[in-house]
Symmetry: C2
């Protein structure tokens, strides 16, 4: 299969288009990066963006939800990378790494709200998620959970990790939906700072 000089990494599915599946995912990401909602992410619009016929995506995805899931999977991989990078920002295994992860989580959502909304409940019913999507989201969560595990005793680590996740996810959701003030929503840095502040905040005393 390799007598020709074509790069084998592009040969897979590279009959007419170089690699249409990846091109479609990239087109979908570009739509979201241009300020598009998940509702703007249509099958025809994505195909148009990839410079291909409207029905071409059906050769690579069974339906629209599968294309959206593939885009969301890339989103989770990017989120995982962003969390891991933020975690490595500090030096030791201290809480600053966790705060940095929280700030990165919110900054990610604020910088790409369309992608973030697609990743979380952006259309596909739970239970019908492809395995790759589930694995990608679990991998992202694992980065946060691992940091929490280094900070708390083993028993309550799971609950503490879930609590931290819910907190930063709630901040991110409220910010991108414009429920916490316009200034924060516009500026990803301000949103990240808010996340760090709330994460550091002591619970209600009593």
């Amino acid at each position: 299969m390799s007598t020709s000089t074509i790069d084998p990494s592009l040969t897979k599915g590279g009959y007419h288009h170089g690699d249409l599946r990846e091109a479609l995912v990239a087109a979908g990401l570009s739509i979201l990066e241009d300020g598009g909602d998940p509702t703007s992410l249509g099958l025809r619009e994505t195909a148009r963006r990839a410079g291909v016929s409207a029905m071409a995506p059906y050769r690579h995805f069974p339906d629209k939800d599968a294309l959206l899931a593939a885009v969301a999977t890339v989103g989770f991989e990017r989120l995982r990378a962003a969390l891991a990078a933020a975690d490595q920002g500090g030096e030791g295994a201290d809480r600053e790494a966790l705060y940095a992860q929280g700030a990165a989580y919110v900054a990610f959502a604020c910088a790409q709200p369309g992608l973030f909304r697609l990743m979380f409940g952006g259309g596909t019913r739970p239970g019908a998620r492809p395995q790759a999507l589930c694995e990608a989201s679990a991998a992202a969560y694992a980065v946060l959970a691992a940091r929490v595990a280094t900070l708390v005793p083993g028993a309550s680590a799971a609950d503490e990790a879930l609590r931290s996740w819910a907190l930063v996810h709630g901040i991110a959701s409220l910010v991108i939906d414009g429920l916490v003030g316009e200034a924060v929503r516009i500026d990803p840095q301000a949103a990240a700072a808010l996340a760090g502040r709330l994460l550091r905040l002591e619970p209600i005393p009593g």
Copy 2:
């Protein structure tokens, strides 16, 4: 305008249909209560549910987003009522009232995920929200913020309220999107219990 015996409260807009505007909002709510996503909430489908022509809603709403916003406004009013009722469940001004509000918040989202998703970023761009919708969401938040204000000194009350909101909102979002385990998503009681547990959880020590 009131020589007839018709109830004035129904006279407004009640030429042909009793009160089509309210009927459309009720039809939209019923669609969401029947397990419909916000995407299932269409203009034509809502009109069909209300037993009226497809274009009739345009006499009462300028476009689809306005109808969705009206439905979301009712959702926030219901959420506000649920939070207020949960707050009154206990007796004193203690933290149990706050925990009850958190559990009620998550239970609301879990019981009506479609409505919850519509209320928060369900289509309309932030900034284009009708004033009534903003007021309804602010009124719901005010119930939670008021309880927090009775528990913490004035300076940090705002941040503490926002932190509590983000935490319960994050839990609710993750649960209805199926990111925290199927069992919790199915059972609203289990979801509410999870909210109470995480709210009670002490922060990460250090």
